[in-house]
Amino acid sequence: MFNKNNFGQVGETVTWFVATIIIVLILFVSVFISSIGPWNDKNLGFSRETDYIASKSFFAWLLTEDDTENSVYEQLREEENLNEFNGGLALDIFEDNYGGEYFEIWVGISNGKFEFLSVNWWTLSTGIYNIYFGFRPEDIVESCRTYADERVILDSNRSIELILKTSDCF
């Protein structure tokens, strides 16, 4: 009976000891994470809903003329989609200058209609696919403003759009 009491006491002490170690470990981890975590930077970062610099580039791109003195804007009004001149220029301007800053960049014509995409058949887009920037991102909604954009009306049905996404809308 004496031996059983001893075992009982040792067992109980070990339990308390282990519990103490676990609590102290959890505290250390919490303090460590709180001191190095990204929230500790308190970066009063800003989410861009407009990008002044990119918008300047966008409007300058629209006014750029080709060899026939036809501006990009006029070309887009007359044609169905981006062509080699304005599409290539857009890639040089937007992909090169802002590709590193933004999660995704899209320049293209949006037509306000929904179209089923051949690759991701279950997604809907209001934009026309082009070979320079691909498909228009599908989660461009006002309620989830993770992007900066600029849009110029081409005609009653179509607009030319610049979309600069900072992240996906989860």
Partner: protein, 165 residues
């Protein structure tokens, strides 16, 4: 014997409580003691300001292309780099901004200008607390005759005393 055991447990319980409380207090002080770091937003606003100054809409100002734009452009661009006295390096030493204008196709440099504390430039690219924030952005512009240009603006904000713990 039970009473002694209870007392020991009570003491132990409060010791643990104190340790947990100390950890919580440390984490709270650590978080709220850290200043907000707004330098990236400041640097971005500085770039926007300079871009607005050297262009008129989508076009570069004529004075930039013809070389009569003042190199010391702080007055032209309404910039005041005076700061509070708390910073090291002198009251004007917290900002630096540099502009380059290149021909878009040939990449030939056409115009350049800078303003502020040039010494801040050598700390760009270095990571860690105590270094200034550097931001470089580019944009595309035209002149009235259809010439195409690429403008690069580098903006540096130091102000570490008030943005970094």
């Amino acid at each position: 014997m039970n009473k002694k055991g209870d007392k020991i447990i009570s003491v132990y319980w409060f010791v643990i409580l104190f340790i947990v409380a100390a950890a919580i207090v440390y984490m709270v002080i650590s978080f709220y003691g850290n200043p907000y770091d707004v330098r990236e937003a400041e640097a971005s606003a500085l770039i926007d300001s300079v871009a607005r100054c050297i262009t008129e809409g989508p076009y570069l100002k004529e004075s930039v292309l013809s070389g009569i734009f003042p190199e010391d452009f702080s007055e032209e661009c309404s910039l005041n780099f005076e700061t509070e006295d708390i910073y090291g390096g002198g009251s004007e030493g917290q900002y630096f901004v540099e502009v380059f204008v290149y021909d878009f196709n040939s990449k030939e440099e056409i115009f350049s200008a800078s303003e502020g504390n040039e010494n801040l430039r050598q700390n760009c690219g270095l990571e860690g607390k105590g270094f200034p924030v550097c931001l470089e952005r580019k944009f595309y512009s035209l002149d009235n005759e259809g010439g195409q240009y690429e403008i690069s603006i580098l903006s540096i904000v130091r102000k570490t005393e008030k943005n970094v713990q």
